[in-house]
Assembly symmetry: D2
Homo-oligomer: 350 residues x 4
């Protein structure tokens, strides 16, 4: 065991944190050494908070103590937005590599952050060196990063299908509409409200935060990076009556003489060596059941020739490729491990 | 009872037919006199096929016999596509008023029908006089119609929010994208397949028939009628892991200096006297739970000022306002009854 | 409208209260005059709290004011346990007829109440005259009652199938086991906790309050009344990942030479004139989808001859026959209306 | 790779078969060499039948060819009941070790099989040497078995909690009632009927095959083995509106002076060294979400002192501990591997 790197999980009591703990159990080269939780949860076993982990991961949660955490090699921050920017500077000073699950270090521009997150940025000095942790587009930078901002769940599902087409100049940048639907685990375990009462969600479907979702600028920034020009798009989130999974349907107007086959080829070639992006055969689109529980993001390509639009369907597990799985993928890259380590599981079907 | 009109329900063994039977129980001026079913279902009580109806509607299903049906005043045809055009001419000859649940008489152009439904039209001579039964837009024509084509479930949910804005010249016709999601009852009871096995749908979400859904030309025709010019749009259907309900999110680019408030006003004024369209207050959008079980179509209006697009959210019960409820609404109009008769129920919440 | 009786609904902001408001809309002889809610909900329209009621029941909720309520003929109390015993005496003094949704007046013995509900009884003087509002067993007493205790959701589903067999001396009283499962609306809208977060309930099933559920003595009391001797039984509640419905599977050892047919006959004859109890044909058992949305309790009878046990399956909508529907049935009886008034709807299927 | 044992999976196109393929991907000492499917599925990749396996297990399904399969060391038979007894003799003759998912070799008495399965037994000569593959009770026999009958999903969940109490003479054998509820994947992928249409199962719950479920004698046989006397019990199966998981609530009358604590101790001690049975702390019971996706069977113990009954709650994933996971556990035992190999995953929560 001595050769394993030691990992601190700051914020183990949320769904994303618990999912990371679950995944780390199967990792051969990293071990969970410290898990933190606040309030009455400190002192409890993680497996009392999440009995699914009984006998699997019985680590005792402790209050956040940066000096204790300094004994670790790597820290995941799985707290709500606004908390990571308070502690990340101190973790970096203590020499840890850091991967943050939240939004604090995803946007390069502190003003954009403040506009969408409605709070001042407390560590803007870290933004220039923070790396957006989408391995399929930033792998080289992640390799040497000290601070990685793990992408949001919706952005991962939107950027992966759209970026190759923008990079290839195959779609009109101003025409993009991203229509997404997520399971309820995306709302988190702590911040639950009447709108998440099972009785109100069961057999329901609704849109929320229309025009105001904080993941919008993150998608725009990453797509802008992919094509070298600013992107402004429409993003709408919906709430599905399921626990896990995000399905995103993206629309864009074609540029030039593209067909379903040529667009499919652009995306398929872009991701042909990627371990966690599966491009569906021409004529097929993915569905949530095929990815939930796995670290895959699956992509399907369709074209509506009558309106000259491409329709991209992408599916992921919001807690795996959309959160803890991608975070572990980032750890693997940052630490020089095989990128797939700990992430081999296929989806649970049905 | 003698003053009630007598109704024949041709095709009582599907979800739409059974829903109509359920609604008719509460109708004071119409009574179900004949219900047909084919094969081994003929001879069975409708309440054996649908035990929810036990003690409520125990009519015995019989084989289709047009001479028997000629004794009725009104016939609903709730068969699969392609069947109504075989029998509607004979029903009309026998003097019945007819409302068809299927697609056979919705499209004015037989060629368009044949393109999307992949079958020849057998009664094109009826198309000029068939009325598209969307009361909010065709009420006057429905009043005197002999043959009403009840709108499709998806089209009802898409046309109602978009038509007022097109009629007011407030959106770009070429920019419309309709993104819809339906519960599994929309697939029908007879045509069920592996893709509808509960284990494969539970906790799933997927898009289907992308660019090829037969409801596309129906939406286009009705919206074209509303604004006086041909409309071509993108429509994508998704399958929700719920039994009932359609939520539609529509996108369009604004024309002129419109705001959320001005668009809301256009729609709210258009429907202010409509008994079954509820326009949500500014800043709110509907969700499925608020309409399922009722004949309402609820509409919410949002604007993404950054991209100059309107986002319309509409919700309905696919079996009520999207099928049997609207059909009964059409009967009420065709027969001169209060349009709300038999349709007073609020949604079942939660 | 003047001939309608006027109804006050005390506690309109819970699921049971809102369901009653929904049902009252269709009642010809009673109208909702006052709806109360506490805190910030007072002053809001009921249809803002439950948008499903928009345009259907837009009454404004008000703070509880007993003098205002005294203007009404009838009051429903739909508050949490422990509140009704504070206000019922004053309502009765003011001459209203009262039907309470909660547990305060269901148990004749105040000591039993205090043992199971863990709180002192504040109005034991009312217990002798309070009538347990299960119409199928107490109709005559309900007719003249001033205070009716509306039965609990689980008890209704358990008493109806078991009582006829106990009354006929067909089963061993000491052998009864009641195994029930309820949807999440049974937990109420206010008492919302992590265990009801959609993400934690979806695709889950669990037992709760084993051996300690407060509905146990209520079932025992009613069954004891049916057979004239004290009953002690085992009752286990489970939580289903659905919004509405209770399915109860009851087990008992047979006495004498009974068969499935003879047991079925006992139950079927007992309820043959009951408008809201449907006994399934021999060999069939009900399922939830056949009752949800209706006021029916459906019962099926099976026998395991190998072990000499009867297995009874009963299904109801916990918010209708298990709460608001039965309360309205009680109002109808107490006020001399047709017992079915306002309760004609069949279940929503599928 | 040469040191891995080679595995044939006969019947890969069902849910159980696909689940085994999924689990085998993570097994270090066994590899899937042949997967069979019949009809048009032969020739297809397993990952075309189950796209969740794309890139994970792309083996091509082939028609069943016993000579081909003879090249393997081990065969799983995951066919419907009645098929294994046709081919198992030939596989054993060819020297393979065999584990059958179905019911053909679970009952020692061919007559009992024929009574419950309604078909003649074709290989009764194998019954004396077939071992019932419940490792927690038959580990030694499994180690040397050539033919293992993998337990049924319901029986696994019922036997594990009850057997220790019977073995300890702590409960009345004649008093046992087993009340179970399963997700819809238990019905299989092939035997798909209207009752499994998503629209009919969603928001539903029902009992089925009351008094006639073929798992009844299997539970009775195993419990009889545990206590050394014949057991006859009542077993009722229910269908949950979820894809995966079985929760079983078992009831029995206590013998002697037992308490919750003493019963808990009996069960906890019995399973203290078992890798896949987790006994919940005193006062807690498991729920499905804590086991689905894992090979655990979790057990909770409650006592209703008023009626002198124990109530046992057990939870498992019907496709893992109830099928493919337990089968793999049996392979591990039969081949001398660590029993946990390939089975380390915790449940997916939430």
């Amino acid at each position: 065991m001595s050769e394993k790197i030691s990992v601190a999980l700051i914020g183990a009591s949320g769904y994303g944190g618990a999912e990371l703990a679950r995944l780390l159990v199967g990792h051969r080269f990293a071990e969970l050494k410290i898990a933190t939780a606040s309030g009455e949860r400190a002192g409890a076993k993680l497996s009392d908070l999440f009995p699914s982990l009984r006998g699997v991961c019985d680590i005792v949660c402790e209050e956040l103590d940066l000096d204790r955490i300094a004994e670790c090699d790597f820290a995941f921050i799985a707290l709500g937005h606004g908390k990571a920017m308070e502690i990340a500077p101190q973790l970096l000073e203590r020499g840890l590599k850091v991967c943050d699950f939240g939004g604090d270090f995803r946007l390069r521009d502190a003003k954009t952050y403040e506009h969408w997150y409605k709070t001042p940025h407390l560590a803007p000095q870290l933004l220039p060196d923070a790396v957006y942790g989408l391995p399929e587009w930033n792998r080289e930078a992640i390799k040497t990063a000290k601070l990685v901002a793990n992408p949001g769940c919706y952005p991962t599902s939107a950027i992966l299908p759209l970026a190759p087409l923008l990079a290839a100049n195959a779609i009109e940048p101003a025409s993009i509409i991203v229509d997404s639907a997520s399971g309820t685990s995306g709302a988190g375990r702590a911040a639950f409200s009447l709108g998440l009462h099972h009785a109100e969600v069961s057999e329901d479907f609704k849109a929320y935060k229309i025009g105001a979702h904080q993941h919008t600028p993150e998608i725009e920034q990453a797509l802008g990076d992919a094509c070298g020009q600013p992107i402004t798009l429409t993003f709408t989130a919906h709430l599905l009556p399921i626990a896990r999974g995000i399905l995103t349907t993206s629309y864009a107007t074609l540029r030039g003489q593209h067909t379903r086959e040529s667009l499919h080829q652009i995306i398929a070639e872009r991701y042909q060596n990627e371990p966690f992006v599966r491009v569906w055969p021409v004529g097929e689109v993915p569905q949530l059941k095929h990815v939930v529980g796995s670290n895959f993001c699956d992509i399907g390509v369709a074209v509506d020739a009558r309106t000259n639009r491409v329709i991209l369907v992408s599916a992921e597990d919001n807690l795996v490729k959309g959160a803890a799985g991608q975070a572990l993928q980032n750890l693997n890259i940052m630490c020089g491990f095989d990128e797939r380590e700990g992430l081999h599981s296929a989806a649970l079907f049905p």
